[in-house]
C-alpha cells in the first residue's frame, strides 16, 4: 500500500501550488518576481487579491498581464495550469462566467508540447465536468468524487462546495495511477453505503467519464466491477444468516481518518487477542442483526472476510468509540447466548477491550 507517503506529498504539492500562485500574484501586482519564501508566506493572498482588484479594473487586463508574466518564465509549462486556475478563481470575483482562455487566447509558444498536453487534459476535464453537472445524480457524483479524493465521506453540502468538482477530478487524476485503482476504491466506498444500488450506478458513470483521462484502459470490466448487485452479494445470501449491508455510512457527519496504517491496527489486535474471536465478534457487529443458530459459528463464511477490511468497515460504521463499544457489547452477549462454552462473557470482554484499544487512535485523530 502506497498510502503511507501519499498524504504528505499531496500536502506538499498543495503548498507548492499555493506558493506558485502567490508568486504569480506578486508579479502581476507589483511587477517583480518574488522568490523569498518567507515574504511569500507572510503576505496574505487576500491582501494580494485586493491589490490586484485595485490595479486592474477588469479580468481581461489581469489575464493579459498574467499570461505575459507566465510567458517570460523558464518553467512556464508548470505555471500555465496554475495561471489558468487563478483566472478561473478570479473570474468569480470579477463576476464573469468562467470561460477558459484557450479559445482565442493562446499565450504560449505552440511548440511547447507539455503545455499542449495539459491543455488537452484541461479540455477533457471540462468535458467530464459538463457531463457530471448535467447528470441527475450530480450531487451524489460530487460526494463520491470527494470520498475518492479525500478518503472520507462528506454529507455537508457547505463543506462539499469548498471542493469544486473540477478540482477533485484534477486531484484524482494526480493521485490515482490507473482507472483500475479508482474502480477498486469506488467499489470499497459503495460497499460502505446504504444506497448501494444508486451509488453503484453513480460509480459506473464516474468510471466511464474518468476513462477519458486514462485512454488505454478497459472500461467495461471496471464498470462491472462496481456493480454491487445481487450477484455480488450472493456470497452472503448463500448462508442462513441474513447479512445486512453495512449500515449508515451515508448518514454520518463525523470525519474519519481513513488514512491509517491498516497493518498497525491489525497488529495491535493480534497482539492483544485471538484473531478468530475478534473476527467473529466483528462479523456479528457489522453484518448480522439477528443471531439465530450455531451454524453461523461455522467459520467457512468468515473465511471470505479479512480482518483488516472488517476493521476499516467498523471505523466507517461507528461515529464514536462509545457507540462502537456499545454495539460490540450487544453482539458479545448474543454470541455468548448461543454457545457459552466457546464464547464465555469473560473472553468476549477481553476481545472487546483489545478491539477498542486498537482502534482508539483512529478516533482520537479527529
Amino acid at each position: 500500500m502506497v498510502s503511507t507517503s501519499q498524504p504528505l506529498t499531496q500536502e506538499l504539492e498543495k503548498q507548492q501550488k499555493l506558493l506558485m500562485m502567490k508568486k504569480l500574484l506578486f508579479a502581476v501586482c507589483r511587477d517583480y518576481w518574488e522568490r523569498d519564501r518567507i515574504t511569500l508566506l507572510s503576505t496574505s493572498t487576500k491582501a494580494l487579491i485586493a491589490e490586484l482588484q485595485q490595479s486592474y479594473p477588469n479580468l481581461n487586463d489581469v489575464k493579459q498581464k498574467l499570461y505575459g508574466v507566465v510567458n517570460q518564465l523558464n518553467k512556464r509549462e508548470k505555471y500555465f495550469p496554475i495561471a489558468t486556475q487563478l483566472i478561473n478563481k478570479l473570474s468569480q470575483l470579477y463576476g464573469e462566467v468562467t470561460e477558459e482562455s484557450k479559445a482565442n487566447f493562446n499565450p504560449l509558444d505552440p511548440k511547447e508540447n507539455s503545455v499542449d498536453v495539459s491543455l488537452d487534459q484541461n479540455s477533457t476535464i471540462a468535458d467530464i465536468l459538463k457531463t457530471f453537472e448535467e447528470d441527475q445524480n450530480s450531487q451524489r457524483i460530487h460526494k463520491m468524487l470527494f470520498a475518492l479524493s479525500k478518503q472520507r465521506w462528506e454529507n455537508n453540502l457547505e463543506t462539499l462546495s469548498n471542493y469544486p468538482v473540477e478540482q477533485l477530478i484534477q486531484n484524482i487524476y494526480q493521485t490515482y495511477s490507473s482507472l483500475e485503482r479508482i474502480s477498486l476504491n469506488l467499489l470499497k466506498i459503495v460497499k460502505g453505503l446504504n444506497k448501494q444500488g444508486i451509488y453503484s450506478q453513480v460509480a459506473k458513470t464516474i468510471i466511464t467519464e474518468l476513462a477519458k483521462l486514462y485512454p488505454d484502459q478497459q472500461v467495461d470490466q471496471l464498470t462491472s466491477l462496481v456493480n454491487v448487485s445481487k450477484s455480488n452479494l450472493s456470497q452472503s445470501k448463500n448462508t442462513p444468516s441474513s447479512v445486512a449491508p453495512p449500515a449508515k455510512m451515508e448518514t454520518e457527519t463525523r470525519k474519519h481518518n481513513f488514512e491509517y496504517n491498516p497493518y498497525q491496527v491489525r497488529q495491535r489486535i493480534m497482539k492483544y487477542t485471538n484473531p478468530l474471536r475478534a473476527k467473529m465478534l466483528l462479523f456479528y457487529t457489522l453484518y448480522s442483526n439477528e443471531i439465530t443458530s450455531q451454524q453461523e459459528i461455522d467459520n467457512l463464511l468468515l473465511k471470505t472476510y479479512e480482518l483488516d477490511q472488517m476493521i476499516m468497515q467498523l471505523v466507517q460504521n461507528f461515529r464514536t468509540i462509545q457507540e462502537l463499544q456499545d454495539h460490540l457489547e450487544t453482539s458479545a452477549l448474543s454470541i455468548s447466548s448461543i454457545n457459552d462454552q466457546l464464547f464465555n462473557p469473560d473472553q468476549n470482554l477481553q476481545v472487546i477491550k483489545a478491539i477498542i484499544m486498537s482502534v482508539k487512535p483512529l478516533y482520537e485523530t479527529n
Binding site: M1, V2, T4, S5, N74, K75, E77, N113, S114, D116, V117, S177, S178, E180, R181, D216, P262, Y263, R266, Q267, M270, K271, N274, P275, L276, R277, A278, K279, N299, L302, K303, E306, L307, D308, Q341, L342
Partner: protein, 335 residues
Amino acid sequence: MDADELLNHYQNGRKSFTGENLSGTNLSGADLISINLSSANLEKSTLTFAFLNEANLNGSNCVKATLSGSYLNQSNLRSANLHDCDLHGAILQGANLADTNLTLANLLDSNLMEANLEGADLSGADLTGVCLLGAVVTSFERRGEQNHRRTKLKRTVLKRADLEGLKLDHLDFTQAILWEANLVRASLAKANLQRANLQDANLFAADLTRANLTDANLRGANLTKANLERANLTGADLTGAYLNETKMFEGIFNNAILVQAKLQRARMIRASFKRANLTNANLMEANLRQADLTRANLTSANLYHADLTGTDLNSTNWTNVNLEGVILPDSITHS
C-alpha cells in the same frame, strides 16, 4: 484414545501422550497447555480455540486438522505435518514451525509474530493478512547445505500480509501473491520473485539487490528509496509504480512496462531499459548516466533536469518529451 479419555488423563496430571492416535477427535476449546503430543496422530481432528500454548507437537501428524483460533503460542511444531490444515485466525506467536509441511494450509489472519519458519514448506498455503513481524523465515546458509533449510514460498498467498523489516534473502517466491503486502524495509536480496504478484505492495526502502523480478506484477507498488541494484526486472509491469529515489544501478528493465511510473531522482546509472515502455513516466532529475535506452519508448515522459550523460539513446522514441534542463549524452544542457 478418544477425546474424553485424553481429557480425563490430562486433568489427572498426565502430560505426555507421545505417539497417541487421536485422529478425528474433537477437542475444541480444551485446555491442553504444555501437553506433549509429539509424533501423535491428529489427522482430521478438531481443535478450534483449543489451548495448546507451549504444547509439544514435534513430528505430529495434523493433516487436515482444524486448528482455527487455537492458542499455539510458544508451541513446538517442528517437523509436524500440517498439510491442508486449518489455522484460520490461530495464534502461533513464537511457535517453532521449523521444517513443517504447511503446503495448502490456511493461515488467514493468523498471528505468526516471532515464529520460526526455517525450512518450512508454505507452497500454495494461504497466508492472507498474516502478521509475520519478527518471524524467522530464512536461515543462515550452511556450507554444503545450500537451499536445504530455506522456507519455501512458491505460489504462497501473502495478500496484505505484514512482512515489514523481515529478512527474506534468497527465498523462492515464484508466482507468490503479495498483493498490498507490507514489505517496508524488508530484505529480499537475491530473492526469486519471478512472476510474483506485488501489485500495490509497499516496498519502501526494501533491499532487492540482485533479486529476480522477471515478469513480476508491480503495478502501483511503492518502491520509493528501495534498492534495485543489479536486480532483474525484465518484462516486469511497473505501471504507475513509485520509484522515486530508487537505486537502480545496473538493474535490468528490458521490455519492462513503466507507463506513468514515478522515477523522480531515481538513480538509474548503467541500468538497462532496452525496449522498455516509459510513456508518461516522470523522470525529473533522474540520473540516467550510461543507462541503455535503446528502442525504449519515452513518449510524453518528463525528463526535466535529468542527467543523460553517456546514455545510449539508439532508436529511442522521444515524442512529446519534456527536455527542459536535460543534460544530454554529450554533456550539453538542453535549455
